[in-house]
């Protein structure tokens, strides 16, 4: 499974990617929407885990653009924001189960990723 993490907190995505790597998941990361779009255009990914608010673009919009480029790509949202608008928008796109609040337990994240991929 190849996963792309997109979050403006570099330290977070770096550490998370490494942890996923230790667990046998190939995880890459980007900190901007543009870089993420470029990356999925160039490489194949199975799953994208997006922050809901990235500077310059909302996670929802980024997801829509990514879907255009890569229709089979699956998505999860990982966010520190708790606003109802984000929750409603995000969970309507991915379902409540795949809209996760930071800080997230790595095992919980792994379980949800496997569940999503099996759907």
């Amino acid at each position: 499974m190849r996963v792309l993490l997109v979050d403006d907190e570099k330290e977070l995505v770096e550490a998370l990617a490494e942890r996923l790597g230790i667990r046998g998941i190939e995880a890459h990361w980007e900190t901007t929407g543009d870089a993420a779009l470029k990356r999925i255009g160039e490489e194949a990914f199975d799953l994208a885990i997006l922050d809901v608010k990235i500077p310059g673009i909302s996670g929802i919009d980024l997801q829509r653009k990514m879907k255009v480029k890569c229709p089979d790509l699956k998505f999860m949202f990982l966010t520190g924001h708790g606003s109802q608008d984000d929750f409603a928008a995000g969970s309507s796109e991915t379902g409540e189960d795949y809209y996760l609040l930071k800080p997230v337990h790595i095992d919980e994240l792994m379980e949800k990723m496997k569940k999503l991929m099996s759907e």
Binding site: E11, L16, G80, H81, G82, L101, K102, P103
Partner: protein, 583 residues
């Protein structure tokens, strides 16, 4: 006093001292006093003024009428008297001018004249002929007065001078009251002679005795010296001096008021009868005459009293009702302000919580991942994997992050609920979320919390934010009522097919039966001395109503209290908008 307490209006004992930031805009007692005073003054002043004016006018009219009637009576009686005397004087005048001196000298002729006079006019008792020297030359009558010398008597001098004389009533030789009329005749060829007749007072008195005089009145005649010429019914025999003063001369009938010796008011009408020594007097008691007025006066006073009482009753009732309505509107306003303030506070807390949580979540996530990565890396290095201290420290960091994460999640959950209306919620989760805020306090005070939720309870559709506030308010109250080492018991079960019940029980101080009935009333509080507004439970009640539920309370003093909320499984949006202000 009990009656006063019963009719005392709600606003009477209202005090704003503990009302907090929202005070009444009015001093209700002052408004009441002012309204009652002003309305009474405006309504009663004209009424009283008009009544007084009417009273005085009517009294004046009655008194004037009395005086007028008395005056008319005196005039009429005077006319009768004058006519009586004039008639007899004219008769004598006719006789003395019609008959010659010699004819009158003849006793039989004189007697015949006397008899005719008696028959025609009545009242004559005797008749005498007196010559110019004052000697009575001829006399017919019962008293044998022939030969009497009247030359020195005043009456003879008067008649010689004026031609006619009417005496007042006197006793004289006869020893009975009588009066005398004398008429002079001056023949062309000789000296004058006088015809003198005596009249008894019987007919005289009859004229007056037949009068019906109102007001316990009395009519009588006095002479200019105040000596009674006719009997006075009250106290006075003929020829006695009256106790009243002789009124001063007036050419016309006069009526005046006088006080008798007992202090009673008298109305005295009098007339000097011209060419006679007589004064006709009519005396009436004013009190008797004013009796019809007294009746009217009493009715007027009663009318005034009843009118004033009725008006005051209506004013007091009306003003009390209106001021009460103002008071109740004012309270509704205060309740609404409190509810708005409460809602705003909750919204602000929600926004603040969301802001804080968001700011903390990212750094927390970083710590979480870095600590997690450290642990993952150490697990791969054999020299670290077995190091329990190292692993323990990392686990501690990760646990603390998780704990912070739960707190921020809770805060965000609370905040999220503020924005949304209907949500599907798990009742137990909401209860635990709320209790999560109070865990530290519960721990610190050793309060044991027991949650029992039946398994068959589904998720319910309701306003999670309001539900949170309701549960938070009730649990806060429970904590306040309990001492340390208390017990809080939360039980939830199905209530029929469509509702679920949530009971929150504490073993705190409890509520008395008397207060239990009022516990949801706005402004009712047992904590008002400590700055409470008394609106917490009434707001809670309002919130329960707004989400379509019901709330009940049971309590026993010193044993504890149980609040039970029954909620529908599904709450429609429109149901929630229908009840906005608790009233």
């Amino acid at each position: 006093m009990k009656i006063l307490n019963k009719i005392k209006p709600e606003f009477w004992d209202h005090h704003d001292s503990d009302a907090g930031p929202y005070r009444s805009q009015f001093d209700f007692r002052r408004i009441w006093y002012l309204a009652v005073f002003l309305t009474s003054a405006v309504v009663l002043a004209p009424l009283i003024f008009m009544t007084v004016m009417d009273y005085r006018a009517t009294k004046h009219d009655v008194e004037s009428e009395i005086l007028l009637r008395t005056s008319r009576l005196v005039s009429n009686v005077r006319r009768t008297f004058s006519y009586f005397l004039d008639e007899r004087k004219s008769a004598l005048d006719f006789v003395v001018h019609d008959r010659c001196f010699d004819e009158c000298m003849n006793p039989e002729r004189l007697n015949a004249i006397l008899e005719n006079l008696k028959k025609s006019f009545g009242g004559f008792t005797d008749l005498g002929l007196i010559d110019h020297r004052g000697i009575q030359l001829s006399y017919v009558g019962p008293y044998g007065l022939k030969g009497r010398d009247y030359s020195e008597q005043e009456w003879f001098k008067q008649v010689a001078l004026r031609g006619v004389f009417i005496s007042d009533v006197f006793m004289g030789y006869r020893n009975v009251p009588h009066l005398v009329i004398a008429v002079k005749c001056t023949p062309v060829d000789g000296d004058f002679f006088v015809l003198r007749a005596a009249l008894d007072t019987e007919k005289f008195n009859d004229l007056l005795s037949k009068l019906e005089i109102a007001g316990q009145g009395d009519a009588f005649i006095i002479n200019h010296g105040g000596v009674l010429q006719t009997p006075m019914s009250a106290h006075g025999e003929v020829l006695q001096k009256i106790s009243l003063p002789v009124p001063e001369y007036a050419p016309k009938t006069r009526v005046l008021e006088w006080m008798d010796k007992n202090g009673g008011a008298l109305i005295i009408g009098y007339k000097y009868i011209a060419d006679t020594p007589f004064i006709l007097m009519v005396v009436k008691h004013k009190k008797e005459l004013m009796r019809p007025w007294e009746d009217t006066r009493k009715k007027l006073i009663w009318f005034l009293i009843i009118s004033v009482a009725f008006i005051l009753f209506v004013i007091l009732g009306g003003v009390t009702y209106l001021v009460n309505r103002i008071f109740q509107s004012d309270r509704k306003l205060i309740i609404t302000l409190h509810q708005v303030e409460y809602a705003n506070k909750m919204a602000s807390i929600g926004r603040l919580a969301a802001g804080v949580a968001h700011e903390i979540n990212n750094p927390l996530a970083i710590i979480n991942e870095k600590a997690g990565l450290m642990k993952d890396l150490f697990l791969f290095k054999k020299e670290y994997a077995g190091n329990d201290t190292l692993m323990g420290l990392l686990d501690s960091i990760i646990r603390s992050v998780a704990r912070c994460g739960r707190i921020t999640k809770r805060l965000l959950g609370f905040a999220r609920h503020m924005d949304v209306s209907i949500q599907t919620v798990n009742l137990e989760e909401v209860v635990r979320e709320v209790l999560g805020f109070l865990n530290k306090e519960a721990e610190f005070r050793c309060i044991e919390i027991l949650i029992e939720v039946a398994e068959d309870i589904p998720r319910i559709q309701t306003d999670a934010g309001k539900l949170q506030q309701i549960i938070l308010n009730i649990i806060n109250n429970a904590f306040a009522a309990m001492g340390d080492n208390g017990h809080l018991h939360v039980v939830s079960r199905m209530e029929g097919k469509d509702s679920v019940s949530l009971s929150i029980s504490d073993d705190g101080s409890g509520i008395s039966e008397k207060d239990l009935k009022r516990v949801f009333e706005p402004f009712f509080s047992t904590k008002t001395g400590k700055g409470g507004t008394g609106l917490g439970l009434s707001i809670t009640y309002g919130l329960v109503e707004q989400i379509g539920g019901k709330i009940e309370v049971k309590s026993e003093l010193n044993k504890g209290t149980t609040f039970t909320i029954i909620l529908p499984l599904v709450t429609e949006e429109k149901e929630m908008k229908s009840s906005c202000v608790y009233s």
